[in-house]
Symmetry: D3
Subunit: 259 residues, 6 copies
């Protein structure tokens, strides 16, 4: 169960309220990569988790994110406050001003109500940890952009604290994933089909004077990879070869025949 | 620009239409981790990307996912077809039956219209690649669950193909991220605050007879980590220490004073 | 800030998992009148509240609702578990089964992702308390319906506990509103226009053999009320009287003229 | 069935169109507490209602709110009109300007499409009346804020009329609820569990120098209430007492044992 | 303004309640092509319309659709009623049963809350009339499907009435569009670019053994049309010709140069 | 399957980035009538279509719209780019600036995530073609409004191209519908009820000094039509005549009796 101490983990100070910036801050309050999204993603993963050790980790960080929600909310509220009485300030976020009376609402900077569609919860622990590593990376970059658009020292200081914690969480989730000792490409129990798994399909082609490059790199060259021209272009507009050994489809066709 | 060849990358065969399974398949057509989500996430990241090589990668895989959308759609359509005339089949997905005439719709298995809220696009290349790695892991596990709930051999074969490709993409995105040569914990340009970044806050406590464990692991122990008891519990219900050197808040308090 | 003790306020027992009932339980987990909606509504009202005493009340109950979310989640998870492997069970909620791996998700019983559109937060304390009284009444009746559709004794016991707490909260919010000492019809600062405020417009008429009644009651009769026939019907299809003293519009017309 | 007279209940006059204010007005056209929300909430409650007298009330007010939707729409349309040709005006609401051609759309001030998620309809008459009382209070305060941000006399006059009617409706719904003669805390048929219903859980604690107060008031003190310290803090971080008579959990534990 | 007569335009009779069918009926109550969508689309178009004659038409039909909403609601309510007490019936729509108490809700058959995203309102009269013609055609086919899945004579009779009215409206909107005397391909004021407007791009190609046909018909052959092979395939994978007279791009390139 | 050539069908040039206009452009990227909506509507209709010739048409145009999505995206990206570093520019669309790093996102001009609720897909070919004709008309007028609010010649040129193609598509869909040879008012298989289908209900009345006109036109007068006064007003507030030959209801009543 939860307990709440009416004292922020971090006490916020705002010298110079900036309603437009308050509106931007809502990205981290009720936005797609914000603190409620983090808190809910980890807590619900934790609720479903059957590994007691990593369940503890998920609940630890999920709970910390709830406290961060409170910090961001306190910060945003101070910046949004002029909307209570100032018509011009109110234009920066009429939903906050008119419907919310100048207080924070569970919306992002464009007034979209927070939705659980933002969450990534699969109930497969290593997959969930990957979703969390990505989520922390997104939250970090969003805090960095907020810092870059902010002048108020107290606000920058609070955002620096919150941004730092996202890196902490990213590090913890990476360690937790690593400690599971799984091959990074082994997800679930059913193995991928050998051969097909190593084919790279060149489905986007860039040639000609103005065309963009058709790039090769570690993601499609080397011993691990078989580079396959986009089937539709394989021999002009001719149909996909169905009988040759080296085409994508024929391989699968054969597999089906041999069943 | 796009070109379309009216021939599936993979020709689907369904011997035994199963409307309930057709409904489940919609998770990969119009669902949160489905093929349209993948196609749009990578294509839009690619459109915004300023690294020409990885832009090519994003467009290659984004385009392949569009083709997968077509395969899943063809598969789902064959399973949903009995809904056209069979009242009992129609009950498995009345939206498909009544509004869609038994054809596929851009919804998930519970009839939720596809929404771009599913996408994770930040415009920060390494962050986007992390989101993509996680997205592929999720798509893989969803295909595995569909295979486990399916009896039709032709359908299982198609799903195995699609599932395999997700691992291919995961491998490519991992290689692309790795080839950027960035420290995994270095996101954006502003560094985290030293000291605070290594603190693990024990915000979820499990003690007593029925309590769950308070776990330690590589994610919160070792030279890299400083384990901090949840501030609220630090010394019972007493207020957070504000003046001692070793508390979370005092450190930050001092930093602000010294500005 | 928040702290979490990994021990439920109420330990749940389920003897006989019932996936369809687990799906129904999601109404109180991720549904419009469920525990997250309550937790967020009160906590955000509390964050915005400038009355320190009632702010404490809002945070107390908001925090308790978070704990209830955990209880409902634990209960739903036990009922949904068969969806992990049982195809028939999975049909009761394919989103939970296929995308969520049989764990709880932040959705309602029809798979709709939780949305902050469910919340009612105005930043006007007495108005917010009224919204909360209504919210608790709704949550109570939803728990009652769940109890009526449930056979498992352990589940019924937990639901009875949760249902009881909603009445507790309703009582507390009523006392808090009452203790503000405001006239129930005085909302905000601008008074309603005298005269117009006491007019009841009979805009829905029921006459004829099969027509429904045109009811009178304390809500439109007595000294407090002036009963006004629907303007459109006032004298057939003739235009609204604009000059007579006793019509709705003329009153307002005169007021404007006299400015 | 409905009939419509092409004459507003209230004829609107706007001397000075203000596109930003027109955008704000959309809160009461397609917003969460706006006129369509009111019209639909009451009309659908009325459609489901089996008490013929209060059904009439619900249809009367639901129909009046439809007429108010038209008044607000007429008002907003006049303020938004400059968006048809004026680029700067268009920036106040590009959705209205570009997609809607400068006419009203069924959105709120931040362009969110109206959604039935705003509605509170339970089919339990007294509960629905409570939701309606709260809805009217919210609509009243929103109109007051609009009046405060408006300079145009004709617009203020119309808003004053509409605001007044919300108080009228609040009064009517209160009278209708009161006339049902129910104990305010008796919702539905299943009684709450005695004892537990009177416990107030102090789940949010505020102590220390900067902590906020831990308030007592009629909502948690007096003969009616038993004040219970937040279980997690009951005796420090020790587990919840399970065997003592006076703890929350043990009471329920005993009840279960005695079945 | 609106007036409501508590007597349905059409009195519904249901001999044999069928909760699953009641759930399907919600498509026409709170669904994308349902009666509220029609009522709101036409009424809001009417509110914005500056052509007094067609404004009258839009309000006439918009108002009639509101009455249809009431008929469908009355019908659905009778079919859903068993959900109040019957657990098995409740499983057909747990949102209706648990949250709505067995009454109608403003949702579709899959429990999605009605959203104004369904509406098509542009403020350009002829465009709006085209949207309405299409909307009526969709509503007609949805009613037909409902009739095909229904056994109850009273219900079929009501649906036949409602379905008939959609054809009436379609006919009226077609006459209204026709009476405007506009060239069907003249939309707005800016003419399309000659030449480009008559080019048909063959962007989907079907060749090979299993490929689908590459069709020609009145939509891409004849004097009116210039058939252009998909630029990407024009000459294999070579870049788009930019300088030749006969390519798509060169035409536009030349136009830009000649400015 | 899809192939992508990394070269736009139309190469965009922007001399003068205008972030506010970039935000407006998102209407055609991720908006209700934008290019993704068109691409998905036609492609999914095509996937479901069983008429091989018109299926080809749907896939041709659906694929072209995907290419248009890329053009609009490239255009919007150039206009939004200043948001990366310029705080004032960022205020035009904080979601793009803060969450998206100044790149395009799949949202409209008010930040609403694209949703498949925008799509109209019924699986009835002639009905779908009607929806497409209307969709193209809407897209045309939206492009025209964007052109009117734009000063940059390169941008206007690109928009003129895209706008022109919408007329091309409208023409093609009209020809395809026409070539099916169906009576325009014959939708599906069940015929409307004779008599009722020709009745026009005058449900919106405009009389009195300020009332709007009660219009007659080809949509409600002539041999084809029977004009019926709104039942509620037919003879004042008296009940609907149920037994006379000429009333709406009695006709149906008789039909039911004669079954």
């Amino acid at each position: 169960m939860y307990h709440h101490v009416k004292k922020l983990m971090y006490t916020v100070h705002v010298d110079d309220p900036d309603p437009c910036f308050g509106n931007m801050l809502l990205e981290q309050f009720g936005g797609a990569n914000g603190e409620l999204a983090a808190a809910m993603q980890y807590s619900i993963q934790g609720l479903n988790c059957e590994d007691p050790e990593r369940k503890d980790l998920l609940m630890d960080i999920g709970t910390e994110e709830l406290s961060h929600l409170e910090i961001v909310g306190a910060l945003a509220r101070l910046h949004l406050k002029p909307m209570k009485n100032d018509r011009e300030a109110a234009e920066a976020d009429p939903l906050v001003a008119i419907a919310g009376g100048g207080g924070v609402t569970l919306c992002n900077s464009m007034g979209n109500a927070w939705t659980a569609d933002y969450l990534k919860v699969t109930g497969e622990l290593d997959v969930d940890l990957r979703s969390n590593i990505a989520a922390e990376a997104r939250a970090k970059i969003v805090y960095e952009r907020l810092i870059n658009f902010c002048d108020d020292p107290g606000t920058k200081d609070a955002l620096q604290f919150l941004m730092t914690r996202e890196i902490t969480h990213m590090k913890a989730f990476m360690a937790a994933l690593d400690s599971m000792g799984k091959d990074p490409l082994s997800i679930g129990k059913i193995p991928p089909t050998p051969g097909i798994v190593d084919e790279f399909y060149n489905d986007s082609t860039g040639e000609g004077d103005d065309g963009e490059i058709d790039a090769r790199g570690p993601w499609n060259e080397g011993d691990d990879w078989k580079f396959v021209e986009a089937p539709a272009f394989n021999g002009g507009v001719k149909p996909l070869a169905r009988k040759s050994e080296d085409s994508v489809n024929s391989g699968r066709g054969k597999k089906r025949l041999s069943k």
